[in-house]
């Protein structure tokens, strides 16, 4: 059996994207990861989602390692990330070294300062005032959706509309009243990335 053959049989030329999403507990890091995964799955791709857990969670950073692939995924660990989505400073300090040369770095510039981004060797560094943007939308809690929208646009990993559908579905089963601000935030993120 393949590690995840149920979902999609192994392809010979696999396209694989490995990313880390990290931030402060409560910033919605795991929601970003889950939405990316379900979107990718809906597009027929394989995914793995590996959250940090346990003692690390409390009051510290939350992070999630995600792999999206057209083929089999072996290690769900992301040692070298194709992309980083970073929501707070501590996470930035910790994970920026894990970015592959030529990778994509998406930063919540409302909370993260990274003076010399060139050292990271990133192909693109996207600095989004995500928290400020969210605050302007009227709900700081949608910061993560701003980041998600921007990442989806910048990476092209999944289709924007698929991701929006997943986002709607996600919140409809939880708190339907926050669908709208999240959709707005996602769209704003897409715009910000497009503008960048």
């Amino acid at each position: 059996m393949q590690p995840n053959e149920q979902a999609a049989p192994a392809a010979t030329t696999d396209q694989e994207h490995r990313l880390i999403i990290a931030g402060f507990g409560g910033q919605g890091v795991l929601t970003i990861a889950k939405l990316l995964c379900t979107t990718a799955m809906s597009e027929g791709k394989n995914v793995t989602y590996l959250p940090s857990y346990g003692a690390e969670v409390r009051g510290g950073t939350a992070n999630c390692q995600v792999v999206v692939s057209s083929g089999v995924i072996y290690s769900p660990l992301v040692e070298q990330a194709d992309s980083l989505i970073i929501l707070n400073q501590l996470s930035c300090d910790r994970f920026v070294v894990r970015l592959k040369p030529g990778g994509l770095l998406v930063l919540n510039s409302s909370a993260v300062a990274l003076d010399d981004a060139s050292q990271t060797g990133a192909r693109q560094v996207l600095r989004l005032p995500a928290a400020d943007t969210a605050a302007r939308i009227g709900n700081v809690k949608v910061t993560n959706s701003v980041m998600l929208g921007a990442f989806v646009r910048a990476s092209g990993l999944v289709a924007e509309e698929d991701c929006l559908a997943a986002l709607r579905e996600h919140w409809s089963r939880r708190r339907a009243e926050v669908i709208d601000p999240n959709v707005t935030a996602f769209r704003r993120g897409v715009e910000l990335a497009a503008e960048a």
Partner: protein, 357 residues
Amino acid sequence: MDSEQPEGKVALVSGNEAAGEAAIRAGCRFYAGYPITPQNELTAYIADQLPLRGGVFIQAESELAAINMVFGASAAGTRAMTSSSSPGISLKQEGISYMVGCELPAVIINVQRAGPGLGNISPAQGDYYQATRGGGHGDYRCISLAPFSVQEVCDLTYLAFDLADAYRTPVILLADGMIGQMMEPVRFDHLPAPSPTPRPWALTGTPGRKRNVIKSLRLPPEELEAFNLKLQDVYATIEQREVRLEVTGPDDAEVLLAAYGTSARICRQIVERPLRQLPFKVALFRPITLWPFPTAKLAELAEKARGILVVEMSAGQMVDDVRMAVAGRCPIELLARMGGNIPSAAEITEKLITLFA
């Protein structure tokens, strides 16, 4: 897992949740457990779902109580399960030995963490000896199944209940923190409706039948020896029929990787999508049943191999079974990571080259 999954769909599910869902689908109607990281999502899933689906969930006062509640529920004739992680599994050893002595089926899930002692909550494979050699007292074995993906957690959990019934034995699903926490696309709709074997021995009150007594006390040594011989017979049957393994890679591999669970998953990459070209052919030997260990197959492979690299997230425990199977046929090397570290494809590749190039 968000809720009961619609049929025919692939869902994004963690290993812990997959175990819970598969158990319920396998007809498990009793679960008792005590919280411990990294398996809490399993307990939480069962706590939420089992009562809605006709079963009993109990948060026991301890792991000891949990295994003994499962003992009671199994004695009552229902499919029953408990789960925990390493330290909690140590506490269940007496209970497991009693269940063996009483020939009671049950499924026990160990989402291993790193030890010894409190250690930490990161993934590890340090409980292999305990699972495969009966960490409790007396001569017994538990069938030990080692999933390396979330889908396999689902499938092997389901299988575990059938094996437990068939051989009237506790069955251990030996996972680890990574397998438990990781989410992957999983389907459940291929699982057939459960078919628990009849339990004429169960305690149900006696209308219409002679009384049943479930016990492991056998005072005369002859009687206890007879029981042990019967157990050994059952074990021989299991060793004959229930060996499960997977070999990946070329038939004419010169070098073998031997690994299970999380570490096998990493090794698999080296066989199927190597980081760099190796100057020899490599195959992966992956036991799915740790006990019964696929001894015969490994012996056969060893015959043709130049060497074997065992990769474990422990100081080297499965390597004992490899040594016994290989019995000197070829050299055996070990790559051991501990403390919650997962070996990387890079370091395994490195080691292979150092050893065999």
